[in-house]
């Protein structure tokens, strides 16, 4: 089961940044999954306001997509676009590491 949340066309998008497409694999509403969802939305709102798209995949309902994406554990976040793809594991609570992994530090602001 996929749920997509789009935030496009805001102030930053007008500034010309590329839209970031994320796919977040979660397990229902388990604590780490819920934290990951919340943390991802917060980070996107702070650093990619208006130019991000989050697709949430619940592995308990859609295991096929998880296998296709080589997901071993949840929560797993995959940055689909812009390339290259990046995979981040965990509840995304370590903000600085997550931002660095997603290339959202420095000039990406």
């Amino acid at each position: 089961m996929r749920k997509t949340r789009r935030r496009e066309g805001g102030r930053s998008a007008a500034a010309g940044g590329a839209t970031h497409v994320f796919r977040l694999f979660v397990a229902g509403n388990e604590s780490n999954s819920a934290q990951a969802k919340g943390n991802l939305v917060r980070l996107c709102e702070e650093h990619l306001k208006g130019r991000y798209q989050i697709e949430t995949v619940d592995v308990l309902k859609d295991a096929v997509t998880a296998h296709e994406n080589n997901v071993l554990v949840t929560p797993t976040l995959i940055l689909i676009r812009p390339l290259p793809k990046v995979t981040v594991l965990g509840n995304l609570s370590d903000t600085s590491q997550v931002l660095a992994a997603l290339r959202l530090t420095g000039d990406e602001r």
Binding site: A27, S31, S33, S93
Partner: protein, 278 residues
């Protein structure tokens, strides 16, 4: 050259993935493992919290049971000493009175009274000993340090194991529960020395170091194995550890054949001394 670089980069990427996986597993940031056929939910954090909570409850229960036991011992010791001891003393006095009334012609009766009097004296000593073991009166009267000195002397007399008691504690007042706990730990440790260590010497030290009270009981016996230390059958060790933990302390046991066994208990001074003493 390019053909060599690609597998290396792939390997490096896999290593990084593995490291990331280990990190999130270690930090309990995973809530499901996606297998080929099944998805397994893992609630490590929750399980750990439940375990911690159960352990705390058990520890609180153990501490409560220990205090109840000490109180019961104190009551039984007092009853034994005051009631039974008093009655035996009266009996002894009565026998002396009867002995004084016996004429020289009543030799068999005199012998009987003497033997009853000896028996009564033995019973009085036994009652005192049992009462002291249940609840050492000197602990309340003289304090922990002197009680331990006396206990160590008595242990040396019973077992023949040469003992030394060392302390750097001056005039400090131990809180009742704290004093009893330390005393019981020393008793249990000495029992272990006598029963298992095959030692000829033991040193018991009670020291104040910074904000902690450090108790060590070391011997020159055959040592102790790690398996024995952590065994569920080592009830004496478990009991000592529970007493230390109830006072926010720790207990460690180390030993080897060449060095004997050393028991170290560390308890915050604030948990064993009375407000004035600490």
């Amino acid at each position: 050259m390019k053909g060599q670089k690609t597998p290396y980069l792939e390997l490096e990427a896999k290593m990084k993935e593995a490291e990331a996986l280990i990190r999130v597993l270690r930090t309990h940031q995973v809530d499901a493992i996606v297998g080929e056929r099944h998805i397994m939910l893992v609630r490590l954090k929750q399980a750990e919290e439940n375990l911690k909570s159960s352990r705390n409850q058990l520890r609180a229960l153990a501490a409560y049971l220990l205090s109840v036991r000490e109180n019961e011992r104190a009551v039984i010791a007092r009853e034994l000493h005051d009631e039974f001891g008093q009655a035996l003393t009266s009996l002894q006095l009565g026998l002396s009175w009867v002995a004084a009334k016996v004429t020289p012609k009543q030799q068999p009766l005199r012998e009987k009274i003497r033997s009853l009097s000896t028996l009564t004296s033995t019973m009085i000593r036994s009652v005192r000993k049992i009462a002291r073991e249940l609840r050492p009166g000197v602990l309340d009267e003289l304090g922990l340090v002197k009680t331990l000195q006396s206990e160590v002397r008595e242990f040396e007399g019973h077992t023949g194991i040469r003992c030394r008691f060392e302390t750097n504690l001056g005039k400090v007042r131990f809180d009742r529960l704290g004093g009893v706990a330390v005393f019981r730990i020393v008793q249990a440790a000495l029992t272990n020395v006598a029963r298992h260590a095959e030692a000829s010497r033991a040193i018991i030290a009670l020291r104040k170091r910074k904000k902690d009270l450090i108790l060590t009981v070391s011997d020159n016996g055959k040592g102790i194995t790690k398996k024995q230390v952590s065994s569920q059958n080592s009830l004496g060790i478990i009991g000592m550890r529970e007493r230390a933990l109830a006072l926010d302390g720790t207990l460690t046991l180390t030993g080897s054949k060449s060095e004997g066994t050393t028991l170290t208990v560390r308890i915050p001074l604030s948990r064993v001394l009375t407000g004035k003493g600490s």
